[in-house]
């Protein structure tokens, strides 16, 4: 495994973006950082800026205005950037699938690596999803060798 990838997987810094969610998924994401679930034992930290981040956590159904901001944010992220979609809204738009303001699901706008379903997903599910993501990237790196 390359040095860069090794460093990324040991301590993935996470940037959290809400593209118009109801804030319930965001509460669960913040819950992961509390001592009870303590996602920092996997080396994960919330990054203050997308330019420091390795993982982009996205909640909410992208609406017409936030889709533009999301694309701009993804372009600014240092590559490789892993994208995690959290919650039903960011996967299939949930109840907003026929909304006039949500024309596209998230994975038609930017590539998504992991989907974590639930409305909202439990913190355990988010941790399991992110650990699976790390294992997936490790396996891909091993395959390339």
């Amino acid at each position: 495994m390359s040095f860069k990838l090794n460093a990324l997987l040991r301590s993935p810094w996470v940037f959290h973006l809400s593209t118009g969610s109801c804030n319930n998924c965001d509460i669960e994401v913040l819950d992961c950082l509390t001592p009870r679930f303590d996602i920092e034992r996997f080396g994960m930290l919330l990054a203050p800026s997308i330019k420091h981040a390795d993982v982009l956590l996205i909640t909410g159904s992208c609406n017409r205005k936030s889709a533009e901001r999301l694309k701009r944010l993804y372009e600014q992220a240092p590559k490789p950037c892993l994208v995690v979609a959290i919650g039903e809204c960011s996967m299939s738009r949930g109840m907003f699938v026929h909304s006039y303001n949500c024309p596209q699901p998230l994975d038609k706008i930017i590539p998504v690596d992991v989907y974590i379903p639930g409305c909202p997903p439990k913190p355990e599910a988010i941790i399991a999803g992110v650990v699976k993501l790390i294992e997936k990237v490790k396996a891909q790196a091993a395959e390339k060798k």
Partner: protein, 156 residues
């Protein structure tokens, strides 16, 4: 106190009030003529010392309605002034020059329902994106999808 305020409004503006619906001890709906809106709202704000909560616009198919909700906080009373607009003439005087709190909600109603607020100081868009076409109002009953590229299935 509550009866005094209601009697004061209904007595002072009896030519402009169409209907009074006393729903509950804390809720009164007063339907007014749309020409008298600015006069009554200013009176409620300045003399009764009510607070402007919010306004809500409704498309009722046969007419449009705007409800201006005012709260008299020390007696816990919510007065909603209801204005009915005919479908073919969707315009009303703006309250934004009288008090700043009406500014954004009127911008929102004008872009989502297509109601024209005459005398509004700033008629730019508030919520919709720039690509949204002119003259399409998403919260109307007869709204139809205009975006041919929109995906409306769950990808299964």
């Amino acid at each position: 106190m509550r009866e005094e305020i209601l009697k004061d409004i209904t007595g002072r503006f009896k030519d402009d009030i169409v209907d009074v619906f006393d729903k509950s001890p804390s809720r009164v709906y007063i339907e007014i003529r749309k020409e008298a809106l600015v006069k009554i709202a200013t009176y409620a704000l300045r003399q009764i010392k009510a607070r402007f909560n919010i306004a809500s616009g409704v498309d009722c198919r046969h007419h449009f309605e705007i409800l201006y909700h005012f709260t008299v906080e020390d007696i816990n009373l919510l007065i909603s002034f209801r204005v009915k607009l005919p479908v073919d003439k969707l315009e009303i005087d703006s309250l934004a020059p009288v008090f700043e709190g009406a500014n954004w909600i009127e911008r929102e109603m004008s872009e989502l329902l297509g109601i024209d607020f005459k005398g509004h100081p700033d008629k730019r868009r508030l919520l919709l994106s720039d690509e949204w076409p002119e003259g399409v109002y998403p919260l109307r009953c007869d709204y139809e999808e205009w975006d041919k590229k929109a995906i409306r299935d769950r990808g299964i």
